[in-house]
Structure formats: structure tokens, C-alpha cells
């Protein structure tokens, strides 16, 4: 676990979102952890992938060098700065190793044309924000959801934060790929009330193709989660032409029925949407599904509903989307 100079443990957080209503019951505050071992090609939060602070670039927000230039002037590398400009505007910033300990340009930029993805936050700092909305949790059975990125990468910090929430009587939920050592997961579970996880594909080869890793560890951990009797919500991010075959859906259904003993409080089939593309651009990353064009919404929604019906054949509480109450 990382600690600050004052000895305070901290986590690397990309974002805090209040009033999330789709990731766990009720009104929740969602904490996005930075860093993820998977590389799902449909990922819509690429800023959550790297476990390091990163510079994000929004050239369109730059107000112009002739009017500002605070970034270039603050860069300690002088003329050798990695900040590239064009037509009086910020163009790009190819991070060099020195940037990691500097980020001065981002601090100076008044318009968030250069910004930092990832903020170091301690448990007390996070708890301050979390507690602000406590009344909303109480009214709706809501609470806190840790999400990512991958929570389990920062499992020690996550466990601390969850403990703090539990001590404050706040319902806790962890949304994780469960691609992690089982011991870490179990440690995190000590103060976790609800788990949300994905089954992205039942065929490990395809799983590897789409996410970079096989599915064995994940399925094992899901099974373990069920054994531990943790309330479990499973999601299938249904991506057309990738994992929406009836065969794969049925295989998932069988797994839930046979291996998890239907120990699932809700199964959500989440429609794929092409979002997050602009965030890839800010990170100088190509959007992996750039060439993919999803089918018409009307066709697609019908397909999703059909798959949901198939899941119900397995006696699974399946729903399309995430706007039906979990519990």
C-alpha cells in the first residue's frame, strides 16, 4: 500500500461520482480506483487503466498560447518541453519519464486543457466526501460503491476504506472484474456488503482476445464469492458480434445455475454503447473499437431483450439494463 510522506495510506482515485443510481441499490457515491490489469477493448474508462497518474489533454479547451502559455512557461525543460503546439494552440503532450514527478503544466493550466488523471486521496479525505450524502443513502438503502479501474489492484487501501464505511454504518459495494489473487479478494470482502462483477465471455480464448486475460481466475473467484454467500450481481456487457451469441449466453446461464447455484440476486445485460472515445484521445490512445459500428438501436434492443428472456429460462433474475432495483 502506498503512503504519503506523513505516513497516511492513500489510494489513487480517478473520479468520485455522487448520486450514482445504477451501481448498487439506492443513491450511491461511487469511487473510481485507478489502475486495471485488464484491457477490455470496449472499455469506456481508459483513464482508469494505468496505475499511475497521467496527463490528460483537451486541446480544444486551450485558450491560446499568445494569450496564455502558462504551461510552456512552467515546464522546467524549457525549450526541450514535451508540450507540442500548433497554430497557437496546445496540440499534444507525449509524457516523458520526468513528467511523472512534475505535472507543473497541468497545475498551471487554467482551463483544464492539460489535466491530471488520478488523485492521491486518503481514507479521511474520501470519507469526508462520502459522508456528505449519508442522508441520501439512508433514504434509499444506498451507500458507497468502489469501482474502477480495478479495485483489487489497490486491495489494501480498498479494505481500509470499506472498513471505514462499515464503521460509519454505510452500505458498501465493490464492482470488480475479480481478476485478482483470491486472498486479496477475501480481504476486501471483509467489509463488503454486495459484489458486482462481469462475466464477459465463457470461452477463455475469446475472453483473452477481448480483455487480455483468460477467464479461469475470474470464474474461480466468482465461485468463491458465491461460496462466501456474498450477495452477488452479475453483469454481461453485451457487445454485438463479440459475446452476444446464444451459445455464449446459454453457457453463462448454465454457469450461473450449475456452478453458482443461482446465488445471484440480479443478472444485468448491459447494452454496449460507444462511449469514452474522447477520453482515449486525451490520453493519446487509439480507441480499440474504432472501426466497429454497432447495429441500429431498435434492432439491438430487441436482441438484448431476447437474450434476457433466454437467461430467465435458467431461473436467473435477469434484467436488461441497470435501472431496475437490485434489492
Amino acid at each position: 500500500m502506498k503512503i504519503t510522506e506523513d505516513g497516511e495510506p492513500y489510494g489513487l482515485i480517478t473520479n468520485i461520482q455522487k448520486y450514482t443510481i445504477h451501481d448498487g441499490p439506492g443513491i450511491r457515491t461511487e469511487i473510481f480506483f485507478k489502475g486495471c490489469p485488464l484491457r477490455c477493448i470496449w472499455c469506456s474508462n481508459p483513464e482508469g487503466q494505468s496505475y499511475e497518474q497521467q496527463i490528460g489533454i483537451y486541446p480544444s479547451k486551450c485558450i491560446g498560447l499568445s494569450k496564455c502559455s502558462l504551461c510552456i512557461n512552467s515546464c522546467p525543460r524549457g525549450t526541450d518541453t514535451p508540450i507540442k503546439t500548433e497554430d497557437d494552440r496546445l496540440l499534444s503532450l507525449q509524457e516523458i519519464p520526468e513528467c511523472k514527478n512534475c505535472f507543473r503544466c497541468a497545475e498551471e493550466c487554467p482551463s483544464r486543457a492539460i489535466m491530471i488523471w488520478g488523485k492521491k486521496m486518503s481514507v479521511p479525505e474520501l470519507m469526508k466526501v462520502i459522508l456528505e450524502d449519508r442522508n441520501f443513502y439512508l433514504k434509499t438503502g444506498g451507500g458507497v460503491t468502489l469501482s474502477g479501474g480495478e479495485v483489487m489492484l489497490q486491495w489494501e487501501f480498498a479494505a481500509l476504506l470499506l472498513k471505514a464505511c462499515r464503521d460509519a454504518s454505510i452500505h458498501t459495494c465493490v464492482e470488480s472484474s475479480l481478476y485478482c489473487p483470491t486472498e486479496h479478494m477475501e480481504k476486501v470482502y471483509e467489509a463488503t456488503d454486495l459484489v458486482i462483477t462481469d462475466i464477459k465471455h465463457m470461452d477463455t480464448e475469446r475472453h483473452k482476445e477481448y480483455t487480455g486475460v483468460g477467464n479461469e481466475l475470474i470464474l474461480k473467484n466468482i465461485k468463491r464469492t458465491a461460496e462466501l454467500k456474498k450477495p452477488l450481481v452479475i453483469r454481461i456487457p453485451v457487445v454485438p458480434d463479440h459475446n452476444n451469441s446464444e451459445k455464449n449466453i446459454r453457457a453463462t446461464g448454465e454457469f450461473i445455475r450449475d456452478v453458482l447455484g443461482n446465488h445471484v440476486i440480479q443478472l444485468q445485460l448491459i447494452p454496449f454503447r460507444k462511449i469514452g472515445t474522447e477520453k482515449y484521445a486525451t490520453l493519446n490512445l487509439p480507441y480499440p473499437m474504432g472501426d466497429f459500428s454497432p447495429p441500429e438501436r431498435s434492432v439491438w434492443e430487441k436482441n438484448l431483450l431476447r437474450l434476457t428472456e433466454i437467461m430467465k429460462e435458467y431461473n436467473i433474475p435477469a434484467v436488461a439494463g441497470s435501472s431496475q432495483k437490485m434489492c
Binding site: 455522487k18 448520486y19 445504477h22 485558450i63 482551463s111 441520501f136 433514504k139 435501472s323 431496475q324 432495483k325
Partner: protein
Amino acid sequence: MLARELTYHNAVKVEPLPVEPFDKEWGVGISGNTPEPSPFPRINRILSKTVKTTNGFVSPDRAILVTEAYKKNPGAPQIIKCAEGMANVLRNTPIYIYDDELIVGGLGCDKKGTPVFPEFGLNWVVDEMRDGLMDYSEERTHDYFSFSKETQDKLESIRDFWNGNTIEDYANSILTDDELKGSHAGKGVFFADAYILCGAGHLGIGYDRLFKLGFKGIRKLILDHMENVDKSLPDGIKKYTFLRAELIVNEAATDHIMRYADLTKEKAGSEEDKTRKKELLQIHKNLKWISRNPPRTFWEAIQMVHLANCMVHIECNGHSISYGRFDQYMYPFYKQDIANGTSTREFMQELIENFYIKIWDLNKLRSHILIKTFGNGGIGGQALTVGGITKDGKDATNELTYMALDAHVHIRIPTPWLAVRLHAGTPWELKVKTVNTIRVGTGEPKIFNDDVTIPSMLSSNVEVKDARDYQVVGCVEPDATGKSYGWKDCGHMNMAKVLELAINDGRCINCGPECMRWQKCGAIGERLGVATGSLENFETFDEVLEAYDRQMKYWCDRHVSVLNAVDIAHQQLKPLPYLSSLMEGCIENGKDITMGGVKYNFSGPQGVAIGTTGDGLATIRQLVFEEKRISGKELLDAVRDNWVGHEPLYAYVNSEKVHHYGNDDDYADELTKFAMDTWCKHIEKRPNTRGGFYQPGAYSVTVNVAFGLKQWASVEGRKAFEPVSDCMGAVHTHCGSHDISGPTAICRSVTKLDHARATNGTLLNWKFSPTSLTGNTGRDSFIALIDEYIQRKGMHSQFTVANQETLIEAQKNPDEYRDLLVRVAGYSAYFVELSKELQDDIIGRTVLSFD
């Protein structure tokens, strides 16, 4: 679909049993784009013949008839002239009855027509007609009025008679430059012109009292009091004259209703359809009865509500003549009609829907300037309140509460303006019904919080039983129904302009020869406001706060002077005898309502730009006095230069690096509270001319756009002429929204302000994208958000549900979005009919999107 099929009986048959299930869902963000929305074929037929516009035409009859009466009574006391004028209109103005309708009545002109009120000022009407500013033109793209040559000639012919004898003339003649320099006629620190060209309105007649007495009973009351007046006492003759006027209008009101009764009978005579004939005969009977007597059935009562209210409009030229607590005063009729089989739930539902559409057919003439300032037209402000607690403190919800909401969804037109009163004990079912109605996305209803409104009214010396029985009038204002003349919405103070003058030694920040007042002000070393020092020299932030406080007092003095002058003009020239007869206290006290005849007399101007001022103070404190990032002079220079050449600072003040109101950040929220409290402190409890006192409000409706157009840039990152912040909402500048932390943070920030202190009302406009409200998670989270707002003593909220893309699309292709209703502020309107600036303002409100 047969209406009967709709009847819902839940498994255990628990109350309520309205026509629709309490949890019926109509969809999210679908607005008006549904053909035949009502389950009743008759209502859909009427709707198909209803034009969905607030445009209309000018009808000269009222103006001519009033003039005729004034000319006939040259030496009579003003109140007799007024009564005779009203009587002449009621007896002679044209009346209409339309196909299919079950409730009749109007404003003495055809649907969408508008009477003219020369008493307030006729010149502008005739001038606008002449100058092409009345009908559609580039200067007037919405809320325009057509007129015939004959109409124009008729009005032209009476122009001289009114010249110099109007409210406008009177008010102006008693004011000096010192009061006017900061007003609508000057630099726009405040606006006080709302009731110069029109009546004050903003009240509701006492329906309970009218139902008890009937016009016959009121007549008896007048005669009784006449008998008892001692004319030898100093005010005896005055009282007697007033009562004479009461008698004149009372008789005329009965005659007016009888004219409708006669016309219905005539129509029935020539009607071939048997069912319709029967209906017409029943309407005839209803009218004949209620022309004198208290109503006996739901149908008679709702007919009486409509006609009695229309006559108030015909007399007073005000808007926001509201319908009181409809579900309360109608419930005894509902219950009794069900019990004795006189009527069915379905038929009463149909009557309510018909009644709502009748309101939409009414219209009101406004000048092109007023349209620009207040944004929207139509009859305006006719609120209808449901829910809440009873006079003895119990939950008041009944079946009509639900039916009143269902009726709106069944017709989806923006009248009346629905208000649901909520309190700690509001049943879950009503919350669901309210939220499902809101989710449709027409902008209706607004919600009001009893748990803060009632204490707030008590603090204004309103008696407990009257406070608990409050209705909402117009956009925002709580009102002791039938007993109060509140002069709600009479003026507006631009707090952001006050801050500008406070930090620039009483001068406008852009002071220079282009200014309209330069010769009598800047050029001779004068200043607009009071000298309160400059940010260039302040050494501590406390000096800023003190300057703001002193500057506010100076402007409140002037604002109140102008408002008093307008009030006096109304008393002298335009007493309201008909309205007085329907308000408790006037006949009893022998005093017209304009003179303070009712029990409660208030004047309610609003503080505008709360967020802008709060963020301005936070910016100054943080950048100049704490971070010392810039000097006070640099900040003033940047604003003076409209931020040109100061782009990094402009971006910075608009970024989240500066404390901003609306993010649950105490730093900014506390200063915003200070900004608002200072306004309240200098307005509250100042005496007014009717024996009552002033009540501060905290909302802008759309005046924030108009104030913005009059103000140069400001320190929190606004460029010149952009709108200042809306109501109690956070700042949204062209550079970005200052509230970026989602709805829970908004809820908490806004409720750190002292709503109860704004005794004239507060308002928060929310905007949601449909995706954030779908499903039962969306619904129940939304209910929780409202609950928390209520619990934290937020007074009033309104909701727009439409995605931003839709709004932008609608702006581009207005023809395809004629039906798109949005919540503007205080009311809903057809989006495409709003001005470009206002559309942009609505689009700019933070979309609370989190899907």
C-alpha cells in the same frame, strides 16, 4: 378506449381510488409528443381544436365599453367609475360557447383573444400597433397579437380620453430621477415596472366563501353592511360609496352568468344531436342556478370557479389569478356526488380536463418589452394547488389530488400551473404520482414544502389556520387564499449589480460616455449609487461585505419608493370592486382591496442573481484576499475589459479551482447565504402603503436574462450581457457551469440558504435528462432527492426533464418540436416559443445526467 375501462381498483381496494392507478407510468421525457393523450374522446376532440400557442389577437370591446361607462359618469368617484366600467363590460361584451365543452366562459372575446385595459396605459398598445411591434415581427417573434384595422381605429379613437389619466402617468408624475435612475427606466439595478402597465393579480379568490354565500349571499352581505354604515363618521361616506360599487358589480356578475345561461339555452334549441342537447340544457341549468346561488354539484362548482375567475381577469388586468386548493374546496362536492350517484369519477375527471383547457384559451396582452423581460405570455400564472396539510394540521391528500395531476398528463398543455404541496407526512402514493407526472417531462407540477412555507408565513404574522391553508399563486408565491393581497412579484433587485457598485465605489464598472446617464452622472463626477469604496483599496474582505451591505440598503430604499408609488397609483385610479367582493374582509371593512381591505397586505419583490453574487464574493475572497493571486485592481480591470486580454484569469475563475456555490462547498455556500440574507434584511418588514409590509423573495423567474442584458461583465466569470444566475440555482456562464457535483450537492448547497426568510417565496429549477430518471431506481432515487430537499427546508422546486440534445435540436428545427414543453421557471412553456436567449439559458442549466 372507454373511460370506464380505466377505472382502477387495486387488489385490496384501499384508498385512493382515482381514475388512474396511483403508480401509472407514462414514460420519461416524452413531453407533449403523444397524440390523443386523454382517455376521453371528448377531451381529445377539444384538444385537437386547441391551438398550442400563446399568440393571440387584440379585442377592443372591453376598452370601448369601459370608456363608455367612464364618459357616462364624469363626476363620479373613481370607484364608481370602475364599477360602472366593469358592469358595462359584463353586460355587453361578446360571449361564446364552443362545441363539446361542458364548462363555459371566457374573457369577453373569442378564444385566445385578449381584452385591452386602457386604465393602465393605452399609448403603448396603439403605438405598438402602429410601429409593428404588436403582431409578428423580427422584434417580436413569439407572444404576438394580431388585430384588425377596425380594432386599431377603435382604440385610436379613445386614446385622447385616457391620455394623462393612466396608472403609468400617475406613477411617473410622483417619482423623481433619484428613484428612477436605478430602475427599469434607468440602469436596471432593479425593476419595478411589473404593475405599471398591468394589474397586480397574484392572488386567489376565496372559493370556500363564494361556495358558501353564492352571489346572492354576497349581495346580502353588502346590503347588510350598507345598512350599518354610519355616514356621519369620517370614513362613513367613503365606505358607503365603496359598498355601492360592490352592489353594482355584484348585480352585473349575476347578469353576466345569466347571459351565458341564455346563450346555452338558445344553442340547445337549435342543437340536433340529442346527447349534446341534453348536455347544453344541463349547462344552462347549472348556470342559471349559480348566477345567484351556491353550487350544489361538482359540475356547478367547477363552472362557478371558472366564471368567477374569468371575471377577475376582466376587471383587474393582473395575472397569476390562481385557483386555490382545488382538491380541498372541490372535495365535498366530489364526495357527495359519488355518494348520491349524481356523478361518476370518470365524468368529474373529464370535467377537470375540460376546465384545464378552458384556462389555456384565455390570453393576456403584454408589451413587447414585457415579453422580452418576462419571457413568456399566455394568461400567465394561474396556479392550482393540491396536497399539503389541512387547516387542522392533518394530511390533506384525497382522490382529487391524484385526479388533478392525472388531468394534466391527459391533456399536456401548460395550464393551469400545478403545485403539489408536500410535507413530512405526504403519502408515498402521492409522491409516486407527483414524480411520475414530472417524469413525463412537461415541467408540471412544481413542488412546495409545507414544512418551511407554513413557518415562513407564520413569521409574517399570518394566522396558523390561514398559513396551513395556503395556496401557491403564480410562479412561486405562497398566499393565504382569499384573504391576502400580496403584490407578489412586484419588483426585482439585481444583487449582482449591487455587488458591482459596491466594489467600484458606487459606479458602474463600465462607466463611460456611452452610458445613457453620462451627462448627469459620470461626466460631472457623480456616481449611480452610494460611494462604498473600491476593491482597489479594500484591505480586508470584511470591507467588501460591508460595502455590499451599504450599497444594498441604498438600493432597497429606492426600490421600495418606486414600488410604493405604483401601489398608490393603483389605489387612486384603479380600485377593484368585483375582486373585493370575493375577498374576505373588504365588504366587512368597507374598504377596497387596493386600499388594504383584506386581512393580509404584503408587497413582494425578489432578489435576483443569488448564485452570481455568491460566486462573486467567493472569487474576491479567494483570489484577492487569500491566495493573493491577483490584486483587486487587476480583477476590476479584467471585468472592465470584459475579460479580453485576461483569458487565463477568465478560465481560472470559471474553473473548479475556485470555490463555487452549488457544490456542497461551505466556503462558497456561506457567502451565497450572506448575499441573500443581506437582501432579505434590507427588505423584510418595511411598511407598505396598504397597512402591511414588504416580503423578500428569492427567485428570478426569467428576469435574470433581462438583468443580464443590462449588466456588463462580473467578477465570477460572466461576460457582458450574459444572464445572471437563475433563481436559487448555481452560476452557468458561457465558459462553463459552476456546479459540477451532481444533484445531491445542489440539494445540499441550496438548502444552506435560509428559504423561510424569503417569505415571498423561493425557487430552484432542476433539469434532468430522461435517462437519469428511468426505471424504479430512477423514480425512487428522485423521490429521495425531493424528500431530502423537503427535509432540509428547501421551499420550492421545479423540474425540466429533457435531454440537452433534444433541446438543441428543437432550437434548430422549431417546427418539429412545437409540442415540446419545458419548465422555464415558475411555469412551463413551449420551448420553441421562447426567445433565443432564454432557450440558451435553459439549455445551459446543468443537465443532471449520471447514467
